[in-house]
Amino acid sequence: MPFFALIKKEVYRFSSIWVQTVLGPLSTALLYQLIFGSQFSVINTGLENISYSMFLIPGLVMMQILLNSFGNSSSSLIQSKYTGNIIFVLMAPVTAFSMYSAYLVASVIRGLLVGAAVLLGIVWFGSFHFEHVWAIIFYAVMGAAITGGLGMIIGIWSEKFDQLAGFQSFIMVPLIYLSGIFYNIQNLGQFWRKLAMLDPFLYIVDGFRYGFIGHANFDIVTGVIFVAIFALVINFIGIILLKRGINIKH
């Protein structure tokens, strides 16, 4: 089926450059763990029996899932547009829905693979548990689907590499870094905490961390519903854009 062929092609694309797509994020996560996890281990997480290292590790894993899933769909699309080889997919009997779904699934696969690699790489720096495995899997898949979908939207819309880079540098990265990866937002002042609560990635990181440490800052049921709706809305918008051929068809 064309859908599976396109997934295979996309997975082959990122796995053929595994030093960049897997080792790079792993190295970054290790550096964060070494600097923050080891040197700032005295930081009080505000949570009973949860060391800073135990708090940080799920955040670092989710950060790489979100960034890599976004990077896969966005860079693949814009590179294909730039080199012109997207034409071979557009001319093939692949519906917009199949094309979108295949790119999205490949992005989720990359996000999860990198997340697993990062987890395996930094697991040795702190003790932690798998308190709620369902939450780890649910938030990992939904987080990857949300940023994979955002990557699709930006990849479809962007006509130049700097448009993609601008979105990544000024919107994606700040939202991810400020989503409570490095700190517990309950420790922030009231104003900053309310501001942080506008960050949608906060609920993804919070739910994912709940899977590991068994503690969430927000109601977990509300979080699951919000994240699922967020994933649906983002990807619905992405499918519409691709179906209309915005900045792809002339």
Binding site: P2, A5, Y12, T83, L90, M91, P93, T95, G245
Partner: protein, 299 residues
């Protein structure tokens, strides 16, 4: 059955440039059609519309399937070689064809892929990365990509640009074989001798409008206003005054005469014989497709 139906297709780009004006024609199954037009005439816009890359007004059907409402079936029946060179830099030549086959839902076609690679003279590059290919090789790879699913309708948008003479001949031999096997082919090229040799139907497009559509023989027959030129080379360099009214030009011992009909040839030869002029060489130059094309363009 119509392999291709173009029903009143118009295309206006974002900058309000109207690239196609009510283009309307049919191509029968099994035809080998040359689509001729100068740069910017609308050929690639039309092909992109057929391929589903352009939005357009009107209706296009491939093997009876509408390219908008029945897109999957229409695309499965179509193989297009785009004009601009494009390739996936992550893949080898063979992987490119293998993944492309997958996009058409075709599996277990190794022997066909090998046949295409041989036809395109790329068999020794099968496991080379596409980045290492020359421009001509990349273009041949694009032709191979369009053929992975053996489409009944093949569109080639300047497939031989940048391809050397020997490989070009081999490529046409392969395409001619596909045509003999029943594939319908629409070709655009600036090498009009290729069209003249290969195609049985000609469509001419200018400024987004179809200006001629006919069989090649009808088109040539209709070109009665265009002269046939008799080229004569004589030994002594002499030329009878009685034939000077037919002279178009002369260069040393070579004379070009304008013929209204082939019946005049015998009279000319008699005249030369009576004047005692011996002929070293003689050619009859019939109007070429290029002359006919320029006549239709009015240039």
């Amino acid at each position: 059955m119509n392999a291709l139906e173009i029903n009143k297709v118009s295309k206006i780009y974002k900058n309000n440039f109207k690239a196609l004006h009510d283009v309307d024609f049919r191509i029968m199954q099994g035809d080998f059609v040359g689509l001729l037009g100068v740069n910017g005439a609308g050929k690639t816009t039309l092909i992109s519309s057929i391929a589903g890359i352009n939005r357009f007004d009107g209706q296009i059907k491939v093997m009876g399937h509408d390219v908008i409402t029945d897109v999957v079936k229409a695309k499965f029946n179509l193989g297009v070689v785009p004009q601009e060179i494009a390739f996936d830099p992550f893949l080898t030549v063979y992987q490119t064809l293998w993944f492309q086959s997958g996009l058409y839902g075709v599996t277990n076609n190794k022997s066909w892929l090998e046949e295409i690679l041989a036809g395109m003279h790329l068999e020794d590059k099968a496991y080379a990365n596409t980045r290492s290919l020359s421009g001509g090789m990349k273009r041949r790879l694009m032709v191979a990509q369009a053929l992975v699913h053996k489409p009944p309708v093949i569109i080639l948008d300047e497939p031989t640009a940048g391809v050397d003479v020997e490989i070009r001949k081999n490529l046409w031999d392969f395409i001619s074989k596909l045509h003999k096997d029943g594939h319908t082919i629409l070709l655009t090229t600036h090498y009009l001798e290729e069209v003249e040799k290969l195609c049985n139907q000609i469509i001419m497009i200018d400024k987004g409008k179809i200006i001629a559509k006919s069989s090649k023989s009808d088109l040539i027959a209709k070109s009665s206003g265009l002269p046939t030129i008799l080229e004569i080379e004589t030994y002594e360099g002499r030329f009878p005054d009685s034939l000077r009214h037919l002279l178009v030009s002369s260069d040393n011992d070579r004379y070009l005469l304008n013929l209204q009909s082939n019946d005049e040839i015998l009279a000319i030869l008699n005249e030369l014989n009576n004047a005692g002029i011996k002929i070293e060489n003689m050619n009859i130059n019939k109007p070429k497709l290029e002359d006919i094309f320029l006549k239709y363009l009015g240039r």
